[in-house]
Symmetry: C2
Subunit: 344 residues, 2 copies
DNA sequence: GCGCGTTATGACAGCGCTGTCAGAGTTAAA
DNA sequence: TTTAACTCTGACAGCGCTGTCATAACGCGC
């Protein structure tokens, strides 16, 4: 194992000062063509790689972004993380995950410690981690952050969102077009009082269904346990749907994982999807294509969302005013939804 | 945002030298009780957090472990990553993911660059990333590493494995006990010449089935495309199984993801799982409980495996001799396997 | 020829911490 | 009593890099 090559080795080899090497490495201006060439040659001859720790210390930069999530085993986390790692790597940054399973005080302390130690150049806050407590810690430590699909108050900070309400409307129209008239919509349980994005979108979806011609009494509510695991939530929702008389012909599960476990429960009770029950998810996770039947869902463009988030973090607004990026949702029709049989 | 608290602030406040603070922070011996108390008090009074960059630079340590994978969207990657992050965080380390989707030369270069820059204290090499090229880069950069479930030559370096052959035997016995006599086993395609762990275990499994009383001609082979995505591999395997006459009553898919997509294809062709076909996976991924029916599979203890790997990295062998940890596999029986109907 | 702005370069301090070493005090063994 | 070993502490250099600043060289207009 050869000894470490440092900037001064390169400087000596190229016949310039360390600072000039530093300028070339960092793409600063005011270096003559000739010296740039010499430095580049020396770098590749010696196999020089700047030491991140030294760079961080000297420049007071960490070259690291953070990703704050509460459950790393969620499908959407994986999507964010995968593209996050790629995007960071392209920019010479690293991405570190901070997991906060319970979002409790002890974890807040751990987060604060970690934020102070690493000094992230920015962090991405996933939807479920987007709580007042977390934002307080971020602000107290002066950490720049972007919220992903914030439920509340997207204008409060930099944020990246998708057109949730539009996505829900696409679902409404799709189900209506297939002939569904008795449709189950989720209601967040325990109830969320605030007028958050999801409740608002659900309200619009219901209105849309009524406008299309559904009867008020046929748009029924089923509980979506948002504090439980998605699997549990799916089972609970499935039971609620299957107990209803008359039974809805379609249900909007609002998350692919929930939809998946709902579908499984339906099969286990002898209910055929989509013949007896159409199910729609949301997100277009991998899981949407793995369950049987593959799920009709609303695609969330995670790659684009992550790219937008990284962009916001890396290029902070000149004036410091919060910026919000909103991306479209699109409906992906697969086999978990079908026409209502005539003899319904 | 208050100015950064450094070690010298703490030293001043506690009336000791910076070095003594450093000793307390790093749990070194030879510090009197009184000074320890004073330093701790000063630390919490000022909210001091050591700066990682400075520590790294001074101590020539990175406080970072790496995780080398080729596909971050694999289920088993997620399991490793999740417990890896937790374990590192408990030890005051960070975990950074290096993704090498193609394992090609360009990526090897990126990896080498990254290894030299970050100077990982150790990296975990996942099974699919465990290639000669990767190991070469690791050795060239003098990076300590642990291989997870190596296919070849576990004694070559530190490694953590599971009892694969034992797991396969459990599957064989389980299927036989359910009455299955015509069983499809996978064969790695394109063919792998080497006597790797998996081929060896498959050979043992076949022997076990024959010993139990299966007929040679009833233990049939189906292709497992190990270079394709697991979904594709599952579809291909499913087609092969369903085309066979007489059709096997059971198939060992060797991976949960493959099993999942195999099951889905079966359903779509009107083949009922497990009534018409029993399917067994391997790994006990989340996906095993999400598909319908939930998969009978062999659990890989990912948490324990990761813990063992981190342990090996953090406490290097005194003599430098490679150490191998082997953990048991256990069979998890769910609904994707069932008894062979009498009128078969 | 003078002053001014622009371009190009390097000297040097210092980011915040830890390794090394010297030295002082304290105890145990000879 | 002397020697040796162990315990405790701080001074200081320096990890590898970048920010700041001084300096020099080069136009350009007058």
């Amino acid at each position: 194992m050869k000894p470490t090559v440092t900037i001064s080795d390169v400087a000596r080899q190229a016949g310039v000062s360390e600072k000039t090497v530093s300028r070339v490495v960092n793409g600063e201006s005011y270096v003559s063509e000739a010296k740039q060439v010499a430095v580049r040659a020396a770098i590749s001859a010696l196999g020089y790689r700047p030491n991140v720790a030294a760079r961080s210390l000297a420049a007071s930069r960490s070259f690291t972004l953070g990703l704050i999530a509460n459950r790393m085993d969620a499908y959407n986390f994986r999507a964010l993380h995968t593209s996050g790692v790629r995007l960071c790597s392209e920019r010479g940054l690293h991405l570190i995950v901070e997991e906060l399973p319970t979002l409790g005080p002890a974890e807040m302390q751990r987060l604060e410690k970690s934020l102070r130690q690493v000094r992230y150049e920015g962090v991405i806050v996933t939807q479920v981690a987007d709580t007042q407590r977390v934002l307080d810690v971020l602000e107290r430590t002066g950490t720049r952050y972007v919220r992903m699909s914030p439920l509340l108050d997207p204008e409060r900070s930099d944020s990246v969102s998708v057109e949730v309400a539009e996505g829900y409307n696409l679902v409404a129209e799709h189900l209506y077009a297939l002939g569904h008239r008795r449709i189950a919509l989720p209601v967040l349980t325990p109830r969320v009082r605030q007028r958050n994005i999801i409740n608002e979108a659900l309200r619009q979806m219901r209105t849309r269904l009524l406008d299309l011609g559904c009867a008020e009494r046929d748009i029924v509510e089923v509980p979506l346990l948002w504090k439980a695991s998605n699997m549990e939530a799916g089972l609970t929702m499935a039971r609620a749907v299957l107990e209803m008389r008359p039974r809805p012909t379609a249900v909007f599960a609002m998350q692919d994982e929930v939809a998946a476990s709902l579908v499984n429960y339906a099969w286990s009770e002898g209910v055929n999807v989509p013949r007896d029950l159409s199910v729609v998810g949301f997100e277009d996770d991998d899981i949407a294509r793995v369950v049987w039947p593959p799920l009709t869902t609303v695609r969330q463009p995670f790659d684009e969302m992550t790219a937008a988030a990284v962009e916001l973090l890396v290029n902070p607004a000149a004036d410091g005013a919060p910026r919000s990026v909103t991306l479209p949702s699109t409906l992906v029709v697969r086999q978990s939804t079908g026409e209502v049989p005539d003899a319904a």
